[in-house]
């Protein structure tokens, strides 16, 4: 039985180019760039200085333990600079630049906890914080923060998110095939820590190889079940996933613990296992390099901090000049204007598109009121009216239409036959609304 949700789209997933390619380890780059913020939360402070020698896996930056994840060096070598560098978000962020000495001396700083019995949630949170683990599916929220918040609630179900609904990306899919034991282990560690009764590894039906691999692992052992999802975008969105698995809808502005569920990505679960069993911090991740402009698309295991240009070079460069480069998927990723920025913890793909790939050359037209945007919206919003109000600068009306519920999944923009920039206008509206709120707050403060 396949589990579905209302709305969503069926894009051409283009996964066939990479889904059969085993994860390949990329050569270490000469230099890595580690931006001091690679997670959702507050920025880290460097704890090394220029000229210092650092080891592989050594902690180089840390911040407020409640809402940040420390950063570890992914090579051994010398710190050559601590300066603002371009990041995949398009901003210049203070980064630690480390020159690789290609010796890969390991730091082995992490303490391996006694895991013979159940690990308590706060102990596990400490371990994953020390390992620098964040949500690797794209949320980039520090896992320790998530675990501690969930430990306060009554968690019944742990869901390991292997939906990977974004077109082109096969990184998680390969991790599921090649590291299914680790995923299982990580899932059970989290589930036991949170006292959850059920553990589901949720995978989209199209990933047959991953399903058979995970089935092999889960049938041998108890306590963890495979959950086959309908193949559809955005199936991997937390709200849609929890809806599919538990049948419950996360309330507006709530989180999954509100309905007794805890969701982590498959790669995050594997990273948890690595941290707990082997004492390895998060220094590498699997990145899908794909798109029609890439000569040899691959799933690469790269060191965090590797510049995007090195990754493309490892895939044979470009067959033609790419029209667009994105970090992240085709639906939610960010366009890049430079290849200098480094891969961070939550970067699951870098894509290079040829001109007119994905029908992007068509110009925006006029709304024909077909209603497709509303029918595909997984959050059951009415993008057509939100856009209309945005055009009229009636941002309050957008607020009334629950624009804050929008997860910016991009389904409406994808389907729009008039090619209207729906999602980007909603992002702009949210920004306007935020500005208005902060203005009101300052006014209130002034009055007081």
């Amino acid at each position: 039985m396949l589990f579905n949700f209302k709305g969503g789209i069926y894009p051409d997933v283009k996964k066939a180019v990479t889904h059969k390619k085993a994860i390949e380890e990329a050569d270490a780059p000469k230099e890595i760039i580690l931006p001091l913020i690679q997670h959702k939360g507050s920025i880290c402070n460097p704890i090394v200085s220029v000229g210092d020698h650092v080891k592989l896996g050594q902690r180089v930056a840390e911040g407020d333990p409640s809402d940040s994840a420390p950063i570890h060096s992914s090579v051994s070598g010398r710190v050559v600079a601590i300066e603002p560098r371009l990041c995949l978000t398009g901003e210049n962020i203070i980064s630690i630049v480390i020159e690789n000495d290609f010796k890969d001396e390991e730091a082995n700083e992490l303490i391996i906890p006694d895991a013979t019995n159940r690990i308590e949630a706060d102990v596990l949170a400490d371990v994953v914080r020390d390992a620098g683990i964040v949500g690797l599916g794209g949320s980039a929220r520090p896992l320790s923060e998530k675990l501690l918040a969930a430990a306060k609630e009554n968690i019944k179900t742990v869901i390991i998110n292997g939906a990977e609904c974004e077109p082109y990306i096969t990184a998680d899919s390969r991790v599921m095939i090649e590291q299914s034991e680790k995923i299982y282990d990580g899932a059970m560690l989290i589930a036991k820590a949170l006292g959850a009764k059920e553990v589901f590894i949720a995978v989209e039906s199209e990933k047959e190889k991953a399903i058979s691999e995970l089935r092999r692992v889960t049938t041998k052992k108890t306590g963890c079940r495979l959950f086959v999802l309908h193949t559809k975008y955005p199936q991997g969105d937390e709200r849609q996933l929890v809806r599919a698995v538990t049948g419950k809808e996360i309330p507006p502005s709530g989180t999954s613990p509100d309905v007794g569920a805890f969701v982590v990505n498959v790669s995050t679960a594997a990273a948890v296992s690595m941290a707990v069993r082997k004492g390895k911090p998060l220094t590498t991740r699997v990145v899908t390099v794909s798109g029609s402009a890439v000569a040899n698309p691959k799933n690469l295991l790269v060191r965090i901090g590797t510049p995007v240009k090195v990754i493309f070079a490892a895939c044979g460069g470009f067959v033609e000049h790419p029209n667009k480069i994105t970090a992240g998927g085709a639906m939610m990723g960010m366009a890049q204007y430079s290849l200098e920025a480094p891969v961070v913890k939550a970067t699951n793909a870098v894509l290079a598109f040829c001109e007119n790939e994905g029908k992007m050359s068509e110009k925006a037209g006029v709304c024909i009121r077909c209603g497709r945007c509303a029918s595909v919206c997984p959050m059951r919003l009415m993008p057509i009216y939100m856009y209309k109000n945005y055009k009229l600068q009636r941002y309050d009306a957008c607020d009334k239409l629950n624009i804050w519920d929008c997860t910016e999944c991009g389904s409406c923009s994808y389907i729009c036959p008039a090619r209207l920039p729906l999602v980007s206008s909603f992002k702009a509206t949210k920004k306007k609304l935020k500005e208005k709120i902060s203005e009101e707050v300052t006014e209130e403060n002034e009055i007081q």
């Binding site: 507006p252 067959v319 033609e320 790419p322 029908k359």
Partner: protein, 346 residues
């Protein structure tokens, strides 16, 4: 590596788009409209085709000229004017003078569509509004001939001579409370139900053949141009009401079948009522809209002066469409049914 410092395109996500665009959707509607057009030409002769050509050409012309004069970006390329033109012609009897569709096209394109801002902005279906206006000349638009008889000898563009034999439509007979297949006066020609289904009856060019319109509906559904909601609710409501309240003491099933397959109901429910711009966008909204169309159609057919009520029913519901959207909003994700707005901004 092939990468010189040429510029990279920066745009907001998503970076891929669906295959179908506004133009391809319009093209699908045109293909669907070809079904009744071909059948109409088969029954009513080449004049059916020449009327359609004139109607389409004048629609496109008015759209082009208006956009040109008003210095607005040209929009004939979206093909919506072609659809309006085809719809106007397909709702006319074949004997109508050639200037009638031109007047209709002017009203539809310039007054109803462009003055309100063009595609997606009008609140009435342009082709239907034009049809309502053309009722000002009942002698031209409400007189029908039977298919076949000398149809192919009708002049292509000239006026049809007034002595062409007119024929009652199935709905005309039903207005008197009679089933078209039965007649008190034996001399009168009977209309077999098979003829109603195939379209071998007097009526408008595109509206006569039920089977062809159902085929077009299936095409539109398969191509995902429209959803089933509006046609189902519209036709279903008419079927239900005519089954419960048959007129003239007729057998309910027969009365219902004739009611559904005669007149402009199928054409209206499939092509006119499903117009994107003038119908609600949510599933429930569409059902309400369709039921409303069905109820008004039956009320006009039963109690109005006109034999047919589809045109006015859809036009009336057009006026309600945006209010239906306002009232019938999908249930908010994660909220209870009536909980619409919590103003928790982050």
């Amino acid at each position: 590596m092939k990468f010189n410092k040429k510029l990279l395109l920066m745009s907001s996500a998503p970076h891929i788009r669906a295959e179908e665009n506004a133009r391809s959707i319009m093209l699908d509607v045109i293909i669907a409209l070809m079904f009744p057009l071909i059948m109409g030409t088969y029954f009513f002769g080449w004049r059916a085709l020449s009327l359609t050509v004139v109607s389409v050409a004048s629609s496109v012309f008015f759209e082009f000229i208006y956009r040109l004069i008003m210095k607005k970006p040209q929009s004939v390329g979206d093909l919506s004017a072609v659809i309006t033109g085809m719809m106007i012609a397909l709702c006319l009897p074949v004997t109508t003078p050639i200037w009638i569709p031109v007047v209709g096209a002017f009203f539809a394109i310039v007054i109803v569509k462009q003055l309100y801002g063009g595609i997606g902005k009008n609140f009435l279906n342009p082709a239907l509004a034009a049809r309502a206006v053309l009722f000002s000349w009942p002698a031209f638009v409400s007189v029908w001939t039977k298919p076949g008889t000398g149809a192919f000898s009708l002049p292509l563009f000239g006026n049809v001579s007034p002595d062409v034999i007119t024929s009652p439509t199935p709905l005309g007979k039903m207005k008197e409370g009679l089933l078209p297949s039965l007649s008190v006066d034996k001399a009168e020609s009977l209309i077999d139900f098979r003829d109603v289904v195939v379209g071998n009856v007097a009526g408008c060019i595109g509206e006569v053949s039920a089977v062809v319109i159902v085929a077009a509906l299936i095409y539109l559904l398969v191509r995902k141009v429209i959803t089933i909601h509006i046609p189902l609710a519209f036709i279903g409501t008419v079927a239900l009401l005519t089954y419960i309240f048959p007129q003239g003491g007729n057998e309910p099933v027969q009365w219902m079948l004739y009611s559904v397959c005669s007149g402009g109901l199928l054409f209206g429910a499939v092509f006119m009522a499903t117009d994107y711009t003038t119908s609600p966008i949510t599933g429930i909204g569409k059902l309400i809209y369709g039921v409303g169309c069905g109820v008004i159609t039956v009320v006009i057919r039963y109690f109005g002066e006109h034999n047919e009520g589809v045109t006015f029913a859809i036009l009336m519901m057009n006026c309600c469409a945006c209010f239906i959207d306002r009232v019938v909003r999908p249930r908010r994700f994660g909220a209870r049914f009536f909980e619409r707005k919590g103003s928790e901004s982050k």
